[in-house]
């Protein structure tokens, strides 16, 4: 009986360097989409708790990667920082070369809206809006005419096979359909990176497989897809797997498709 082997090859240096810095050989002429450099995130004032400790990571265009680790390993903190929903206590987070800490909230929000598409475990759809309205939310405040906005949202839903459900509210949709609406909302802005938090966590196995299949197809040469999960099976569907423990990157593995 053979054991499951996704064919991981450890990235030389990633698991050796305690700071998690990528080796110089990885730094090629292509600019990283997202770069964490010596990033720490500390919570608490009197008693400091290091959720992330001196982490460095580069995400390149076209990558399909997973960040995996047990509860408390710092995955969620990492997701917040990668998604520019949070700022590091120390270190630098760059998106397309831009230091996010140097931006004020409106510019940081714009950068987030333009560059990152989020998919959450609990779907996080706005309950009083239709599927179309939920997808349109990502296109608001972008000086897009309502008719064009609606058309783009509809096209995104159509791409995910939900055109017929455009007018349905979240409660009228199944879990798989809700997650696809969330996916449509994530891709409608044509972001540089899709950031998914346990994307199959609330789905049954059939829907989970379907969503993962869609995920693997979302990547483009310009776009990276990043999944944060504690599920190794889900993590293994990615071509790059970053493992975390106690707020540090402990392994950075790649496999050939």
């Amino acid at each position: 009986m053979s054991t499951y082997d996704p064919g991981w090859a450890t990235d030389p240096g990633a698991s050796i360097d305690p700071t998690g810095r990528l080796p110089v050989t990885d730094s090629i002429a292509v600019q990283p989409l997202l770069e964490l450099e010596g990033v720490s995130r500390v919570y608490g004032e009197e008693v400091e708790i290091y959720a992330l400790s001196d982490v460095s990571l580069r995400i390149m265009p076209g990558e399909f990667m997973s960040i995996v680790g047990p509860s408390g390993s710092g995955k969620s903190t990492m997701l917040g920082l990668l998604g520019v929903l949070d700022l590091p206590t120390s270190g630098t987070v760059r998106i397309a070369g831009q230091d996010v800490s140097a931006l004020d909230d409106p510019r940081r929000s714009k950068l987030r809206g333009d560059s990152i598409g989020f998919v959450f475990q609990q779907f996080h759809l706005i309950p009083h809006l239709s599927a179309l309205g939920n997808v349109e939310t990502a296109l608001l405040y972008r000086d897009i005419r309502p008719r064009d906005r609606r058309q783009r949202a509809y096209d995104a839903l159509e791409r995910l096979g939900l055109a017929a459900r455009a007018d349905h509210r979240p409660v009228q949709l199944s879990g798989g359909e809700q997650q696809r609406v969330a996916l449509a909302r994530a891709i409608v802005t044509e972001p540089l990176m899709i950031l998914a938090d346990e994307p199959t966590g609330a789905l049954d196995s059939a829907n989970a497989a379907h969503v993962l299949e869609i995920f693997s197809g979302l990547g483009t040469p310009e776009r990276a897809v990043v999944m944060v999960t504690h599920d190794l099976t889900v993590a293994d569907t990615a071509l790059r797997k970053v493992s975390m423990r106690d707020g540090r990157i402990v392994a950075d593995e790649r496999r050939v498709a």
Binding site: L85, G113, H124, L140, V228
Partner: protein, 394 residues
């Protein structure tokens, strides 16, 4: 411009999505503005009605009453009081009445016990009394010179007494006044300037003297003056009547009472306005409270919006705009309800509708201001919400 349109759309959909909650927070500005519009409208309409009534009745009627001396039971005026008053140049007409104390009026057989216990005032009146009062007869005729000359025992009923006696228009009715039969010849219309006349029965001065053996001295004089001289005449009348004698005379201008009533309505208006303001303030607290809870309930929505790129200021503006809509809608709805109430009550009370439309924008603006101030804290709270905390990642 397009971003503003987006913001308006988002805020509007936030309000319409939760209809019950929206209705609840609308109550404050609606009731506040409605009560202010209603309070001012109703008091102005009532005042308008009083002014119309005053204009109809005239403000130039004076009632002169015998003050008597200390301890006197039925103080009287001199017998020629009307002539003395007529001598005042500003007086245009005057009529006297005399209270016939001890006269019991019994309208029907068998009612003696009741009317002996609760006697109806009987007055002797001059023939020109309705003319001086400017009141018409609602049935039959008033007492005239022929009644005195022919010694007819005629009686005219006040409108209230006619109703109490169950007198029907045109009915031939005889009532007993101290065991003497009197024929009802008419019913005097309502006298708003002296409602006591509505509950009296009137006989001629001849009957007072010869049937009830009075001394013919009147107790009260109703005096009309030239317009614009009423107050001065009222001051001169006591001297004109007593001419330095011992008789005490007091005068009153009944229209002043109505005018005072209008003034009292003004006070009521202020109280109602204050109450409206209080409701508006309490409504504002309600808005702040409900919207603060709403921010917590909608924290996931706020997190999603932040995640898709909406800035803190956009989130804050969204919630502030929702409060602003509440103020605008509540103010407009309140004004409409207030106007509706004024029209309804005025039509029921037969008042002339008086609505200060010029003041309505001020109250609506006040409702808007209160709503926006109330929405400030929840908006800031919403803007400051950390998306990471609301989205519960991982």
């Amino acid at each position: 411009m397009s971003q503003t349109r987006d913001l308006i759309g988002v805020a509007w959909s936030g309000l319409t999505a939760r209809k019950v909650r929206t209705l609840l927070i609308l109550l404050g500005p609606v009731i506040g503005v409605a009560s202010m519009v209603g309070a001012v409208g109703l008091t102005e309409s009532a005042k308008g009605a009083l002014q119309v009534q005053l204009a109809k009745l005239g403000t130039n009627l004076i009632i002169a009453q015998a003050g008597g001396t200390f301890g006197s039971q039925n103080p009287t005026l001199p017998s020629d009081a009307v002539r003395r008053v007529d001598a005042v140049s500003s007086v245009t007409s005057a009529a006297a009445t005399t209270n016939l104390s001890g006269v019991i009026s019994i309208p029907v057989q068998g009612a003696a016990t009741y009317y002996e216990a609760f006697p109806v005032p009987v007055r002797a009146a001059d023939v020109n009394l309705p003319a001086v009062l400017q009141v018409r007869l609602i049935d039959g005729r008033w007492l005239d010179a022929a009644d005195s000359q022919l010694h007819l025992r005629s009686v005219v009923l006040g409108s209230g007494i006619a109703k109490q006696y169950g007198y029907l228009p045109g009915e031939t009715r005889t009532i007993r006044l101290n065991n003497t039969n009197f024929g009802v010849v008419g019913v005097l219309g309502s006298v708003p300037l002296d409602p006591t006349l509505n509950n009296a029965a009137f006989v001629t001065q001849w009957a007072a003297k010869h049937v009830f053996s009075t001394n013919g001295k009147p107790n009260e004089l109703y005096i009309r003056t030239r317009n614009g001289t009423t107050q001065a005449t009222a001051g001169a009348i006591p001297t004109a009547i007593n001419l330095g004698g011992p008789d005490q005379v007091s005068t009153q201008v009944p229209s002043n009472v109505l005018a005072a009533q209008a003034q009292a309505n003004k006070t009521l208006q202020k109280v109602a306005l204050f109450a409206g303001l209080l409701v508006l303030t309490v409504g504002g607290l309600g808005i702040a409270n409900v919207m603060s809870i709403s921010v917590i309930q909608r924290s996931s929505e706020i997190g999603i919006r932040r995640a898709v790129g909406h800035s803190r200021s956009k989130i804050g503006a969204q919630f502030l705009l929702e409060s602003l809509f509440v103020g605008v809608l509540g103010g407009a709805l309140g004004a409409l309800i207030g106007i509706g109430v004024v029209y309804l009550v005025s039509s029921l009370e037969h008042w002339v509708v008086e609505i200060g439309y010029g003041q309505i924008p001020i109250w609506m603006g006040l409702a808007l201001l209160v709503s926006v101030i109330a929405g400030l804290y929840p908006s800031i709270k919403a803007a400051r919400l950390e998306p990471l905390e609301t989205l519960r990642l991982g």
